[in-house]
Amino acid sequence: MTKREASLAGTTSSAATAHHQLDWATSKTIGGITEIAVLAPIKKGCVPGERRTYEERLVAAIDNLASRHQQGLPTELGRIAAIHFGRMIIIRPEQYLVHSNLEGLNYFPDHDGAAQAQAAAGQGQVPQPIDDYVESGSDPKKQPELRSFLLTLVEFDGDLKVYMRDIAKFLASDFDVIFQNCEAYPTTHSFERFWLWVRRYQINTNLLYAPYSDLTVVRIKQLEDFKRRFDAFVARVWSPRGPRVGAIEELFDEFLRSSQQYASNFPAPGGTYETGNSQVGG
């Protein structure tokens, strides 16, 4: 047993047992934009009563959301108007164990001494696919217990806790459908417990790059709408060869009234934005 293995097994001196308490990650913030990264282990085995693993169920849940978004349908994520970008990535052991040398794990064979060439070329050892479904009666050598992880990366406007509270309140079961496939997930029913789980699996981000950190999502949408209304206004009153209408003051007032402030539904509760009419008149 090497020293490292011994330390992992918890059999070494007291120095190893002195572990930190609640040393949570901190979200990075640039201007008004904050990030969060959560790395959560996925449950092993089949979902009770089903013939699919938790990981398969997770993939299906994410695919469902992704395809609705891809089709341009509004989704539950629209209810959180603060989200700039979000990503979910499943990380499998065959991926994070590239370049490893783990006992019990099958690596691609190094035919005709190609292993050294591989190492020289920087390929490293590549694990063979790990199948959750094994044939009955086969007696595979004992494999190490390896987990897949769900990595969730989000950039949003405002503060982390406000954002998480919105998730628990407005996404609720939609959020649970995905994260129930991860270990120890308590659901969003109790925000306090949910918050503790988030902190448990949050990881530190090394770089947050935010080139427009002073603009919120809603502000961007509003500016876009402003430009659209402006183009429509110009098209009504002005042509390249001079004014199209005699008195533009009234129309200008109308434009100003329509484009300064919005009293409601920007966005609507479901996350959609009403936009100004941009058709060319006449």
Partner: protein
């Protein structure tokens, strides 16, 4: 990886195809002239199997075999009937590559055109010329007796005669088969065609295209024909830039204007390039232009689903060009060119009568060379016409159809072919120009960064190679002029000035940067002044040339200060199409005109696509912002934000429409000469050991293991069919909260699958395999009732099954009795036919149809409505609204989500609702292989909504008296008083008088049966029809043509056979009740779930001899063996199979058979639409609706 030394310039110059680096010239007498017309032949490479079948057919036709001529006529006149099973046809066979490999004849032809080596072709020609039977005696190219065959004294006339005869001429076929084996006659014919006027227009149905193509074919093969000793360095008609004008070794092959040949990704795949090498091609090329539509803004009217002919489809494997200087005389007549254009349009139209004649002729010529010409384009420099003399008058300079000089600014690639012209490279600070590095265009040279392409990985492929972009861009000339005159009414000069602002040049090419006020006169203008300007240096704020002008975007020269433009250059080799310029003041002259845009670059994604997507169609690039889209060619929609700011203007010109629409295109790989020669020799370009980066490994190789992953199923199926295993038994992984393991056993042999699906009784009288899960699901769906599919003929559900069958059969018979004048089959077909007829009439003008939504779903719904008597509700059910959002209840949707869907209300809410209910129910009942809890929940709701609805329909109907039933529902009600019905509800030993109230139980059964009938019909029939049609598309079988030769009684065979090769449900589950030995030797244990691999069983050679063959031959395809709707003659056979499903499917197939020119849709718009795993949409296009299937 070894970054091998780059090719020398000399090497590259001798390898890169002539005409790509320097504009193509015609050699006329001793001078040269710019090429002013060109043909583009888009081809598909035949597989060896297809080639063999074609040749056999031709030989039999040449020998006057009965029926063979008709087959050949159909084969050649209709696109894509080749695989239609007229003869036993080998399809792609994964195990052996031979039948689906490229036809050797194609490789031989490649040798002819690249190496002037005819040895392979002649070997092949010997085979072709070996005709069976007595007719093989005829060898002489006949004198014109009775108008048959090719007449050497007047070949053009005889071709026209042959085409116009509209029939298959044995002599003609014989001559074509022997053409390449008789060099003297070949050359004599070539000579004749050259001296005579190939171009002469003829009276009759076809124009000059057949003669021009024959001449072109002979001309292209001539260097080989006269070359008796080909060496590795012999030049064919495809030749390197350095040898563009190289002579030939001996004899006089005539005009040797070079041609180009290039392949799409599907073409390289058809050539069976090594898989790793294939995958290493850049993504944009692999995906093809249609798939890149979003990036390129080929949307709206430019979207691939509207493209012309086959452009954009994977059936385009490549193109080769053609064309050489035509004789003076007829060829300068506008009537000649008009006829040529009409011929090309007819050829591309699958239903044009003249098109058939032309296709017959062209296919006759090219199929023996291993290729099918699938599409043709004709490029022509625009000209004007002197109408009095019908003469074409060439223009001084090359002009495009909007009237501007074109092709002025080209990157100058330094191949040591000349000095850099101004504007031809990267501007230096001192006003000089540095040439563009050859690696920007050619894959084997250093690029601007001193780097070179590593992809594709096989270095042998990149020698002298480039990627070509082909786009057919239709120009709305009348619309362009109308917009100008709307903006600048009655002021020709102002209109011209606005157009110049759009372009950035005056019509004669004078750049606005040099002369913003007016165009230079011819004297002031020289090639040098046309391009000797910069933007950042000469006009930084767009005071002379607007920032948004076309040429400022397409080649920004020094804008941005980082010499960025030099990394995004393309070599343009475009040619216009559509003949003469549109005359001023004319809105339309019947021609569609535009540009065949062709460009060479070494990185499609970094070069062409950046220009097209970011510069032409983006407003923010190289430090500029607010530029909108290109006013000339941008993807505009005519809205207020589609604006353009002229130089110095305060307000923009707004509401710009789209003047240029994409009509087709693709990305091509143009290999160098050495590579073409290797391809011709059958090379596969396996990567050298050091060429595969990182050993081929990628992080993305890893995927989540899934029990029903298609790769896993294929692997198990192969292991079982090969005999390596009898079955695969799996233990499902347990989880922390689940103690017991589920077990699943996969079976795949046809005999085993059949046994498992039959749910029979064992010798000892116990049930072997059950539908336990169907039973649970059905109870869930129907709130505790049973349906037929969820019961077994033995065991606990037996009695229910018997009762339900009896109820259903009695109603069916009662209905049949009431309608007996007609017979039930006729009734079903009558309903289906009339609705299909209506649908076809409705879609006839659109030329687009959704095969599933418009045909199969409509037809099935008509049966549900009219025969079953259950019209759908007037409203869209809650679930149908909520399901697209992955919700079950409308209440769970924010109001703005529903508002977002306002525009997408279905035409027929009854159909849409029934479809959603049915799809969900079937997906849970049969498709829920993984027993997904959410799906159970959704189907419970669907079932509950549907059952409520059916119950209410039944109650409504019961309230009115029924004399003679006209629907199944009425028959059920009519039957309620039958003593046999009452007897079904007898308890053991209950005297008849004391049955109690059995009617509620009867109607509970009736509703359940109706739910099952409606649900399975609405889901299964369209799903199966989609499978059938997708299989036909995949195997390139033209249904309309096929039905023309297939006896009507074989239509069911067509459905079964197509579905066999593309099963609608590839896995069906059963539960093992008793440990059972299967015929194949496996033992399934009690308590195991059994996954029956339909996909494997359908390919079991023990039952389907030669399983990859698409065949209607009863000797090798016993109809009893098909597993669709379960095999015949056992208790699991589907009740509705013969009564309803097959009748509806057959009528749908016949209706689709009326859609001439039926084909899939290119790009993302052609993907099938799915709802809960059930296909509900399959978009397609056609050219014409015929009144009956072609016979």
């Amino acid at each position: 990886m070894v970054n091998s030394a780059n090719a020398s310039l000399e090497q590259t110059r001798s390898n890169v195809q002539a005409h790509l680096l320097r504009a193509s010239k015609f050699k006329i007498d001793n001078g040269e002239a710019t090429r002013n017309w060109s043909l583009f032949f888009f081809f598909r490479i035949l597989t060896q199997a297809e080639f063999d079948a074609t040749v056999q057919r031709m030989q039999r036709a040449a020998a006057d075999a009965a029926g063979a001529k008709r087959e050949l006529w159909l084969d050649f006149t209709h696109p894509a009937i080749l695989n239609a099973g007229l003869v036993a046809q080998r399809l792609a066979d994964a195990a052996s590559s031979a039948p689906d490999g490229p036809a050797q004849a194609f490789l031989d032809w490649l040798k002819v055109i690249t190496s002037a080596d005819k040895s392979g072709l002649q070997q092949n020609a010997g085979v072709l010329a070996a005709l069976p039977g007595a007719a093989s005696t005829a060898t002489e190219a006949g004198t014109r007796t009775g108008g048959t065959g090719l007449d050497l004294t007047d070949p053009i006339a005889s071709i026209a005669d042959a085409c116009n005869a509209q029939r298959v001429d044995a002599d003609l076929i014989r001559q074509v088969l022997q053409l390449h084996s008789q060099p003297e006659q070949y050359l004599a014919l070539l000579q004749k065609l050259r001296d005579g006027s190939a171009a002469a227009p003829r009276n009759g149905a076809v124009g000059p295209l057949p003669g021009v193509v024959l001449y072109e074919l002979l001309r292209q093969g001539a260097p080989a024909m006269v070359n008796s000793k080909p060496t590795p360095s012999s030049h064919g008609i495809v030749r390197g830039e350095a040898n563009a004008h190289a002579g030939v070794v001996e004899g006089d092959p005539g005009d040797v204007t070079p041609i180009n040949v290039a392949f799409t990704y599907s073409g390289l795949a058809a050539l069976k390039l090594d898989q790793t090498t294939l995958k290493s091609f850049p993504d944009a090329f692999k995906q093809g232009m249609a798939a890149r539509a979003q990036r390129l803004r080929d949307t709206g009217p430019s979207a691939p689903e509207h493209w012309d002919g086959e452009l954009g489809l994977p059936s385009v494997h490549g193109y080769f060009s053609g064309g050489s200087p035509l004789k003076k005389g007829d060829a300068v007549k506008e009537s000649f060119w008009k006829a040529m254009r009409a011929d090309v349009a007819a050829f591309n139209d699958p239903v044009d009568v003249r098109g058939r004649l032309l296709r017959f002729w062209l296919h006759l010529l090219y199929r023996v060379l291993g290729l099918e010409i699938v599409h043709i384009e004709l490029g022509q420099d625009p000209y004007t016409v002197d109408e009095a003399s019908d003469t074409v008058q060439c223009l001084q300079d090359r002009v495009e159809h909007f009237g501007f000089r074109d092709g002025l600014s080209q990157p100058f690639v330094d191949m040591k072919l000349g000095d850099t012209p101004p504007g031809g490279g990267t501007p230096g600070r001192d006003g000089t120009w540095t040439p563009v590095a050859p690696g920007e265009i050619l894959l084997d040279q250093f690029d601007e960064d001193g780097d070179h392409q590593l992809l594709p990985i096989s270095r042998k492929l990149t020698v002298g190679a480039t990627f070509l972009v082909f786009r057919k861009l239709e120009q709305d000339v009348a619309g362009f002029r109308a917009f100008l005159s709307w903006q600048r009414p009655k002021d020709g000069e102002a209109q011209k000035a606005l157009a110049a602002q759009f372009v950035g040049r005056w019509p004669n090419g004078t750049p606005l940067v040099l002369s913003p006020e007016a165009e230079h006169s011819a004297e002031e203008q020289s090639e040098a002044t046309l391009n000797n300007f910069r933007y950042a240096a000469d006009d930084p704020s767009g005071a002379k040339c607007p920032l948004g002008a076309h040429i400022r975007r397409a080649n920004p020269r020094d804008i941005g200060g980082r010499s960025e433009a030099r990394r995004h250059r393309i070599l343009r080799r475009a040619i216009s199409y559509g003949g003469p310029l549109l005359k001023q003041g004319v809105l339309s002259d019947g021609e569609r005109r535009g540009l065949l845009f062709i460009a060479a670059n070494s990185r499609i994604d970094l070069q062409f696509e950046v220009i097209q997507a970011d510069w032409i169609n983006g407003g923010e690039f190289l430090g500029q912002a607010g530029l909108g889209r290109c006013p000339l060619v941008g993807a505009h929609d005519g809205v207020a934000s589609d604006g353009f700011l002229e130089a110095g203007a305060a307000a923009p010109v707004v509401g710009l429409p789209r003047f240029v629409v994409t009509r087709g295109g693709d990305y091509f790989f143009a290999p160098g000469i050495a590579t073409l020669k290797l391809l011709a020799n059958g090379a596969h370009f396996e990567p050298e050991q050091d060429e595969t980066p990182f050993g081929g490994f990628a992080m993305a190789d890893v995927k989540t293991p899934a029990l029903f992953d298609p790769d896993r199923l294929t692997g198990y199926g192969q292991a079982i069919l090969s005999g390596e295993k009898t079955a695969v038994h799996l233990d499902l992984p347990s989880s922390a909260t689940q103690g017991s393991y589920d077990k699943v056993c996969f079976v795949g042999l046809h005999s085993d699958v059949r046994k498992v699906l039959r749910n029979e009784q064992s010798a000892s009288g116990t049930l072997e395999f059950s539908v336990r899960h169907y039973h649970l699901a059905a109870q869930n769906i129907t709130r505790g009732r049973d349906i037929i599919i969820s019961t077994d003929a033995f065991g606990p559900t037996d009695a229910t099954r018997t009762r339900l069958h009896a109820i259903l059969n009695k109603a069916w018979w009662a209905l049949a009795d009431a309608l007996k004048a007609e017979g039930m089959d006729k009734v079903v077909r009558g309903i289906v036919k009339s609705v299909l007829d209506m649908t076809l009439r409705r879609t006839a003008q659109a030329l687009r149809i959704d095969l599933v939504k418009d045909l199969a779903a409509q037809a099935t719904y008509a049966v549900v409505e009219q025969l079953y008597g259950i019209p759908g509700p007037q409203w869209l059910t809650e679930l149908a609204v909520a399901l697209p959002f992955a919700r079950q209840h409308v209440g769970a949707l924010p109001p703005d989500w529903i508002a977002a869907l306002q525009g997408e209300k279905p035409d027929n809410p009854g159909l849409a609702t029934m479809q959603v209910w049915s799809a969900v129910i079937l997906a849970d009942l049969v498709g829920n292989l993984q027993s997904i809890a959410e799906l159970h929940a959704i189907s419970r709701q669907a079932g509950s909504e549907m059952l409520d609805y059916i119950d209410s329909q039944v109650s409504l109907e019961r309230a009115s008296p029924i004399r003679s039933p006209e629907t199944l529902l009425e028959a059920f009600i009519k039957n309620e008083d039958l003593p046999e019905i009452a007897a079904l509800y007898d308890q053991d030993g209950t005297p008849p008088g004391q049955r109690g109230d059995w009617k509620p139980r009867y109607y509970s059964d009736v509703s359940a049966i109706l739910l099952e009938l409606v649900g399975t019909s609405m889901a299964t029939i369209p799903l199966t029809f989609a499978s059938v049609m997708q299989a036909l598309f995949k195997f390139r079988i033209d249904l309309p043509s096929l039905l023309g030769s297939l006896p009507a009684s074989d239509v069911p065979r067509l459905i079964y056979e197509a579905e066999r090769l593309n099963p609608n449900v590839p896995v069906r589950m059963r539960y093992c009740e008793t440990t059972t030995a299967l015929p194949g030797g496996a033992e399934v244990k009690e308590g195991e779930w059994v996954a029956a691999l339909i996909g494997a069983a359908n390919l079991d050679p023990r039952v389907f001899q030669n399983p990859y063959l698409f065949s209607f031959d009863p000797k090798i395809r016993d109809i009893k063996n098909y597993l669709l709707f379960n095999d015949q003659g056992n208790n699991r056979q589907c009740w509705g199979r013969e009564r309803v499903a097959m009748a509806v499917l057959e009528e749908c197939v016949m209706a689709a058979g009326r859609l001439r020119g039926l084909r899939g849709v290119a790009g993302a718009g052609g993907e099938p639409v799915k709802l809960a795993q059930v296909t509900i949409g399959l978009p397609a296009r056609f050219t014409q609706v015929a009144s009956t299937p072609e016979r």
